[in-house]
């Protein structure tokens, strides 16, 4: 099949693989063929008939025009896309397609960027002969993200195929027959899939459009810039569409190696958070409990004085989504002042593995290779919420190459692909992983890992999963965000490493946010200096930094109530500090409660910088809109602070220079996920009831938490106590009961919701949602009582 054939398209000789479709060859050669239903990432429907072309093989013409999207190439094929016969067929198709299409382009959001408009212009008649009545179709209500005008639909079924093939959830379908066909859900319900927004791009007409962007701008008013998604660790490539210095919408930018042609809804609609009312617009200082405006120079002077006073007693909490440049300058500042307490692992509680951790933990393989794995073991990850497009890659592995997917997670996941799920308390998670290790015949090195494996009793399911891991030619063990938040993360890592070694798999770490992997390169970790080198003078990790209050803290785009693993502990430590400098893009109660000085920093799309994604690809982006008010790019603020503190190495003129500096330090760095020793830590004691504090999809960071449309998606920010029905009965609770949640001194009130996905002995109580700010550690013992 690798043999190539040469076919002739419009007189041009084109190399092609036998079996490839004519339209794919033409697209590669840049020969235009009109189409609506064909999409390179979807199956071939050949139902729009727009791509009709004239074909002959070895001089024998086909009796009638054929669709280029479903005509495979073979030797001796000659294709005419612009012959009179082809043009006539295309014109005829176009006329049929327009029969029921309303001519409401002036009020249609797709107007000006509509495939139907363009193709009608290029291939249609200039005057309509149709005088009969047109069909009207009732609109669908698909929820907060997608607006519908179903009368405009031309039944290309791209959205239906997207659901079945990419999203893995069939919500849309074509019901009815002939003239009565309509695309819809048949039974009204909002679409809640994390990739649903892609059907907006797929729709060739104005039937499915973006709800937040609806009637906001016209395509020709927008300027397109390149951008990067600032949320998950994939760094999806974006096109930012800007009008009058405002980001109006976000589209995907093709990058096969990272996001293919898709982006998640979080990346698509989070731009709305840029324009939330609580953007911090100018430096503010707290005087006698009230916020007062302060000029930039005074503010920076104040910050410099206070940071200098704190000196080695300074702790820095940096958002793992901060740019490489910001992280690098921040750690330089902190280390320059004599402290090394700089942390970006904000949702981790167990740092006992620090001494043995790899210096540069990364995905362990290329993102595009995830779909080629034969076996994937996912430990502690709500993957669809964490990195939606990586879940898509795993789905491809499971569906297209029958990879075996095993998941060890505290709660059951609703997945779109077959997977063996081991669900249980955090203690049980350790046991399941140890059982798989034992089934693989691994013993584990010295330390408690050996005991865990020795005490494990593998069940048939563990054996089956272990066999699947062994059988696979290539595979990967991935540790996710819920593993990182686990009280025994060190042991999970050690066990995962044992499993990976025994089954000859890669070990990989899913980054917590857009630049979590880059943090090691920038040196924004207490034990790692720039270039992912072991620190000469190690600093304190997050736990120590919060257990014992520092004199001063630097918060970099961190909301203590939402972005830290234990908001109550963090709040207490920050309250005790003499001075808290918060460099943030948004105000927010939990920032205002603890900060003494707030400096406005530019958010995504407003600043330039570099993000290093899960697979260690450096991606640079530029600012495309000016920051609002007096907000300034973060790296500039840090640079000036460095100057004011008379520190060395703060004389860069652009973020590019900062990036070059980091790059030079990273020369010759080779990533390795191998652990550097044995972990001796003992497992955390059993708890009667565990809190499982997952971070919901649309609560990841300050920006997305402020995107109104995403917050309207069902379940986006709902704060409730999810209990297994039996667990609720045991606690004497029923659905809807008001309850008090207590974690030590921390407590909150909420309501009970029943869910079979939560195991016995656990209560899933989300973190980073409104109401969870007063709670304790994300995963830990909890008491739930009737209020």
């Amino acid at each position: 099949m690798t043999d190539k054939v040469t076919i002739d398209i419009d007189g041009r000789a084109c190399a092609a693989h036998p079996g490839e479709m004519v339209i794919a060859v033409a697209d590669r050669e840049g020969i235009p063929i009109p189409r609506f239903c064909y999409h390179k990432k979807l199956s071939i429907a050949a139902n729009c008939r727009m791509c009709l072309v004239e074909v002959e093989q070895n001089g024998r013409p086909f009796p009638k025009p054929v669709p280029a999207c479903s005509t495979p190439v073979c030797a001796g094929l000659k294709v005419l896309t612009r012959s009179p016969k082809a043009l006539e067929a295309q014109k005829g198709t176009m006329e049929f397609l327009l029969i029921n299409h309303p001519l409401d382009c002036p009020i249609c959001d797709q107007g000006g960027e509509c495939e139907l408009q363009d193709v009608a212009m290029g291939y249609g008649r200039d005057v309509s002969r149709y005088i009969e009545g047109k069909r009207v179709v009732q609109d669908e209500n698909l929820g907060a993200l997608i607006a519908t005008d179903m009368t405009r639909c031309i039944h290309c079924t791209r959205c239906v195929r997207f659901g079945a093939e990419i999203a893995g959830v069939r919500e849309l379908g074509a019901t009815g027959r002939g003239e009565h066909v309509r695309i819809g859900t048949f039974v009204e319900h909002a679409m809640a899939h994390e990739l649903s927004g892609n059907i907006i791009d797929l729709c060739p007409v104005g039937a499915l459009t973006s709800k937040p962007y609806r009637f906001q701008a016209r395509a020709w008013e927008l300027s397109q810039f390149e951008g990067l998604a600032p949320h998950d660790g994939l760094g999806s490539n974006l096109h930012l569409h800007v009008r009058r210095n405002q980001v109006m919408r976000v589209h995907p930018r093709d990058n096969e190696a990272i996001n293919e042609t898709w982006i998640s809804d979080r990346d698509r609609f989070s731009y709305e958070g840029l324009y939330s009312e609580d953007r911090l617009l100018s430096p503010l200082v707290k005087k006698e409990g009230a916020w007062q405006a302060i000029g930039w120079s005074d503010a920076l002077q104040l910050a410099a004085t206070q940071l200098k006073a704190a000196g080695s007693q300074l702790g820095a909490l940096i958002s793992p989504a901060a740019t490489l440049e910001e992280m690098f300058l921040a750690q330089k500042l902190v280390r320059g002042l004599g402290s090394a307490d700089i942390e970006t692992r904000l949702r981790q509680q167990d740092f006992r593995g620090d001494a043995t951790d790899p210096l540069l933990p990364w995905l362990g393989l290329a993102i595009a290779d995830v779909e080629k794995q034969g076996a994937i073991l996912l430990v502690g990850s709500d993957i669809r919420a964490e990195i939606p497009l990586l879940a898509h890659r795993i789905r491809k592995a499971a569906m297209d190459s029958q990879a075996s997917v095993t998941i060890i997670n505290p709660y059951g996941l609703a997945l779109t692909f077959p997977a063996e799920q081991f669900t249980g308390t955090p203690t049980a998670n350790l046991g399941d992983l140890a059982a798989i290790a034992k089934a693989l015949g691994a013993k584990g090195g010295p330390g408690s890992v050996k005991d865990l494996i020795a005490h494990a009793t593998p069940s048939d399911r563990h054996q089956a999963s272990a066999q699947a891991l062994l059988r696979a030619e290539s595979g990967v063990v991935l540790l996710g965000a819920l593993a990182a938040a686990h009280p025994d993360y060190a042991l999970l890592k050690a066990l995962a490493s044992v499993v990976a070694k025994a089954a000859k798999l890669e070990l990989g770490f899913l980054p917590a946010a857009a630049n979590a992997t880059g943090a090691a390169l920038a040196g924004a970790l207490p034990l790692v200096e720039p270039g992912a080198r072991a620190a000469a003078t190690p600093g304190a990790a997050l736990d120590a930094m919060l257990a014992e209050a520092r004199k001063a803290y630097l918060l970099w785009n961190v909301e203590p109530g939402h972005d830290l693993i234990d908001p109550t502990l963090a709040g207490k430590a920050l309250a005790q500090a003499d001075f808290v400098l918060a460099c943030v893009s948004h105000r927010g109660d939990s920032v205002e409660a603890v900060a003494d000085l707030m400096l406005p920093i530019a958010a995504f799309a407003e600043t330039s910088g570099t993000l290093v994604n899960a697979e260690l690809t450096w991606q640079a982006f530029r600012g495309v809109v000016p920051p609002p008010g007096e907000a300034r790019p973060g790296w500039k603020i840090l640079r000036v602070l460095g100057n004011l503190l008379n520190l060395e190495g703060f004389d860069q003129d652009s973020s590019l220079q900062v990036a070059d500096e980091v790059r030079a330090l990273c020369e010759g760095v080779s990533p390795s996920n191998a652990l550097r020793g044995h972990v001796k830590a003992k497992p955390a004691p059993q708890a009667d009831l565990w809190r499982l504090g997952n971070v919901p999809l649309y609560r990841l960071d300050a920006l997305v938490r402020r995107a109104p449309a995403l917050q309207r998606v069902p379940g986006a920010g709902c704060f409730s106590v999810h209990l297994h029905p039996d667990q609720a009965t045991a606690l004497g609770l029923v659905a809807g009961d008001a309850v008090t949640i207590s974690q030590g001194e921390a407590s909150a009130r909420s309501k009970v919701a029943l869910s079979e996905a939560v195991p016995l002995g656990c209560a899933r109580i989300p973190a980073a949602v409104a109401g969870s700010e007063t709670l304790g550690v994300q995963i830990g013992p909890v008491v739930v009582t009737k209020a």
């Binding site: 979807l42 199956s43 071939i44 429907a45 239906v160 074509a174 019901t175 048949f186 039974v187």
Partner: protein, 176 residues
């Protein structure tokens, strides 16, 4: 419509399935399922819908379509697609008799429109409506595959071909 990967399934536990329809219907559906490869259970959706419709007295409620979806591990929308496409499935209660007049090309050329107009005037019925006396439901359907003796009318499971308005009247009069 062809989907790239094997059919999208929504697995449902067997204990849920055991409570659907009744044992006879389940056995009859299983017999159809057995004719297809194991992963292509959903190929049996049409006979399953027919069985369930007959069992339910001639029509399919949304709940029953959902049950068929569950029984065959299909997404519900895929069942709705089939049930809304084919004329032999009724999604609203009907009379015991269904008088289905074919209105596809051959029958249309041979006078089916006349038959439809006749029923509309004489009985005051639009396609899809049930007669005032509740004896029959009048339907206009797509090709019955009886072009040779068009126009064709399907009553219950019996084909009546080459009908005139008078012959159709007689047929309707004879309905129980």
């Amino acid at each position: 419509m062809s989907f790239r990967s094997a059919p999208l399934t929504v697995p449902v536990p067997s204990e849920v399935k055991a409570g659907l329809f009744d044992a006879t219907i389940r056995a009859a559906i299983d017999a159809h399922v057995a004719r297809y490869p194991a992963e292509w259970k959903q190929s049996a959706v049409m006979p399953a819908l027919t069985l369930v419709q007959d069992w339910n007295g001639g029509w399919l409620s949304r709940e029953l379509m959902d049950d068929v979806a569950r029984y065959l591990d299909m997404p519900a929308i895929a069942v709705y697609e089939v049930a809304t496409f084919y004329n032999m499935y009724d999604l609203e209660p009907t009379a015991k008799n269904k008088v289905c007049v074919c209105n596809s090309i051959s029958c249309m050329l041979n006078g089916s429109e006349e038959l439809i107009a006749h029923v509309e005037h004489k009985y005051g019925l639009k396609p899809g409506q049930t007669s005032a006396d509740g004896r029959f439901t009048f339907k206009e359907v797509e090709c019955l595959g009886a072009c040779r003796h068009a126009p064709a009318v399907l009553v219950g499971r019996t084909y009546h071909e080459g009908l005139t308005p008078e012959a159709l009247d007689k047929l309707i009069k004879g309905l129980g």
